[in-house]
């Protein structure tokens, strides 16, 4: 068995984090339109899996694909330009951040929850059809596990022995819905119900994610069928940037005052459910808002987990960090530069 390369994995995670932080900044500046779903908090999962891929492997993504794109080798400048909607962006400004495509990397996205399942199955089918040892990865969230096409694709992959690694990045949250409240059974059993072996793994721990991935990917390359990975994580920046739940924490007075008026009026209105039921509803909403903060405050930080271990080694952690920081900064500058030129025209 191969040795884990914690240095590489840590660098990958850091690149992803720094890049997404930069994206966030540009979004906050108003340079990026629409929604922006960051993967900050799930870097260990992305890095641990992507690290094991080789040429010809395919990756299917959902609405939260930036990190995987970057770590698989897509140029950060072209990603940023895409987010700006620039013609020189990865997809000529036609796709945008939920619809990232790179033919060279066999990477395809969909903003429709669940599509990464069938998409990965199709990539894997092609790999098998061509008799290669390539595999396909599907990244998706806990919420996608209730979408029919995802479930169908699991059955397909199982019945046809397709080399698909199904990676469920489980933050137990789909926008503002706690997934475990609307999901029957548990997810590893669910995969087993389709004949797919799987396991839970600590998605904060890049070493563990890598260990499982490298092992199952190796087996898939030699002909084994699909595997299911359920990796816990949080999304530090909420569902998307500007997540209304998180805004309550950032600007509590402003945000609460917007809603409390109508809410309280509803609550005390003579017609409606009985008071106990109403109180239940209200308390659920408030606890959801309060809990959402935990995403940010969580002590589990994938980027920190192995920092002590790493700092004991011969490499200079700080030096490497600063190299990556520079690289990202340079990409941002370049993208901004190119973008500015267009705006001048």
């Amino acid at each position: 068995m191969a040795e884990v390369d914690l240095w590489l994995l840590s660098q990958m995670m850091l690149r992803s984090r720094l890049f997404e932080d930069a994206v966030k900044k540009q979004w906050e500046e108003g340079l990026i339109p629409g929604e922006m779903h960051l993967g900050t908090g799930e870097e260990a999962i992305i890095a641990g899996v992507i690290c094991e891929l080789k040429d010809g492997d395919a990756v299917a993504l959902d609405h939260r694909g930036t990190s995987a794109m970057l770590l698989r080798g897509v140029n950060p400048v072209s990603l940023l330009l895409e987010f700006f909607g620039h013609p020189e962006g990865l997809c000529g400004g036609l796709g945008g951040h939920m619809h990232l495509f790179s033919k060279d990397h066999l990477m395809a996205s969909s903003g429709i929850v669940g599509f990464s399942g069938p998409a990965a199955a199709g990539f894997a089918l092609a790999a098998k059809y061509k008799n290669t040892d390539n595999i396909a990865v599907a990244f998706f969230g806990d919420g996608a596990m209730n979408q029919g096409m995802m479930l169908e694709s699991m059955n397909l992959a199982s019945a046809w022995d397709l080399p698909v690694l199904f990676v469920c990045k489980d933050n137990d949250l789909a926008i503002s819905t706690i997934s475990s409240h609307v999901t029957g059974g548990n997810l590893v059993d669910r995969a087993k119900g389709f004949g797919i072996p799987g396991q839970r793994v600590d998605g904060y721990d890049v070493k563990k994610v890598w260990q499982v991935s490298s092992e199952v990917i190796r087996r898939m390359r030699s002909g084994e069928g699909p595997y299911f990975l359920q990796a816990q994580c949080v999304h530090k920046d909420g569902h998307f940037l500007g997540d209304p739940l998180l805004r309550f924490h950032d600007h509590p007075i402003k945000e609460f005052s917007k809603v409390t008026g109508p809410l309280m009026k509803s609550f005390v209105h003579p017609k409606g459910a009985n008071v106990v039921n109403r109180a239940k509803s209200l308390s659920e909403v408030f606890s959801l808002i309060l809990d959402s903060r935990k995403q940010r405050k969580t002590k589990k930080e994938p980027l920190q987990m192995y920092s002590i271990e790493l700092s004991l080694e011969e490499y200079n952690l700080e030096e490497i960090n600063s190299i990556i920081t520079d690289e990202i900064q340079e990409a941002v500058h370049k993208a901004l530069e190119i973008n500015r030129r267009r705006e001048k025209q």
Binding site: W27, P33, H99, S179, K265
Partner: protein
């Protein structure tokens, strides 16, 4: 009369209907937050949050309606209807017919629609003319708060399936969630009469299938719904400056479609310009032309619609969606 925002009017009509009839309930993703005021008042059995299983819960909505309830099923963005299309195409739209026209399906499918804020091609579609192709459905697209509330009430009390679309540029919370995200440096040019307006104290249903004349004119008929009527009104006022008197019609529902109202106007003006944020071909814009042509009416015809898949880039998007300039130009060329 009081004033309300667009989405507030919808909520207020829902308030009224849910208080009046205990069979009315809401089901969809994240409705405990999206409809938090209704949730606080009516509790979670009547404002039911779902997993991301649109074909499951929309299908369930069809039979829940057949069992006597009046579900308002939410599909967050109409773009997502693809995953649940079978329930629309082969169940909701057909079950009344299949039952020998004996069993009603009083279902409302509520969804947001439309673009102009930079989410790209899978999140900004309109699709109303597409859905309208399926016999057995009504399709409602309000353009202002008063219509939004009155049409919602009518949709809920309609005994057959209605697809009710709220445009994301009119409904403040949608635009805030998806386009603005609480940022103060992002803003949009929004139609004041669309996003806020006078509403009745008690909601009355507005019958489906009656267009409203938003601006009278004699030279050309411009027709659309949702955001398009505001784009058209803006163009009409510019046309006025050029001495062209444009009549602007708000269809309000795609199905039923008010053919006689259309006819009345086009008989007068002799020119028809359809403005349609849905895709151009094989949809609403063609049907309006055909409805009048098959009655033997002769008129000049043009259309300004969404041209192909919607690009993510804000600049490209604004060109591809109908806009004031394209409407103005097309009207000028028809009036030449």
């Amino acid at each position: 009369m009081k004033r309300m925002k667009f989405a507030q009017a919808i909520e207020s009509a829902l308030f009224q209907a849910m208080a009046e009839d205990s069979n009315v309930f809401i089901m969809g993703e994240d409705v405990h937050i999206l409809r938090v005021n209704l949730y606080a008042r009516f509790g979670k059995d009547r404002v039911r949050s779902t997993p991301i299983s649109e074909s499951g819960f929309l299908g369930a909505g069809v039979t829940a309606a057949m069992a006597g309830l009046r579900p308002v099923v939410e599909i967050m963005l109409i773009d997502f209807i693809g995953v649940a299309m079978d329930a629309v195409l082969n169940a909701a739209a057909k079950n009344f017919f299949f039952s020998g026209e004996k069993w009603n399906v009083p279902l409302v499918v509520r969804a947001s629609c439309g673009g102009g804020y930079g989410d790209g091609g899978q999140h900004e579609q309109s699709l109303w003319g597409w859905l309208a192709h399926i016999p057995g459905l009504s399709i409602v697209v309000p353009s202002n708060p008063a219509d939004a509330g009155g049409l919602m009430l009518a949709s809920i009390y309609h005994n057959h399936p209605v697809i009710y679309l709220e445009h994301k540029m009119l409904a403040d919370y949608w635009l805030d969630y998806l386009g603005i995200g609480g940022r103060s440096n992002v803003s949009f040019d929004l139609p004041p009469d669309g996003i806020e307006g006078a509403v009745p104290d008690i909601w009355q249903p507005i019958p489906l299938g009656q267009l409203s004349v938003l601006r009278e004119g004699t030279d050309i008929t411009i027709v659309g719904l949702g955001m398009d009527v505001h784009r058209s009104l803006a163009a009409a006022s510019d046309l006025g400056v050029q001495g062209i008197s444009a009549e602007v019609l708000d269809l309000r529902s795609v199905v039923p479609i008010d053919t006689s109202g259309l006819r009345q106007s086009v008989e007068k003006t002799g020119k028809l310009l359809v403005v349609d944020e849905d895709y151009k071909m094989f949809g609403l814009s063609g049907e309006v032309c055909a409805l009048l042509a098959e009655q033997g009416l002769a008129f000049k015809y043009g259309r300004v619609c969404t041209e192909g898949t919607i690009p993510y880039s804000r600049a490209l998007e604004d060109e591809v969606l109908p806009n004031k300039k394209r409407i103005y130009d097309e009207a000028i060329s028809l009036c030449r």
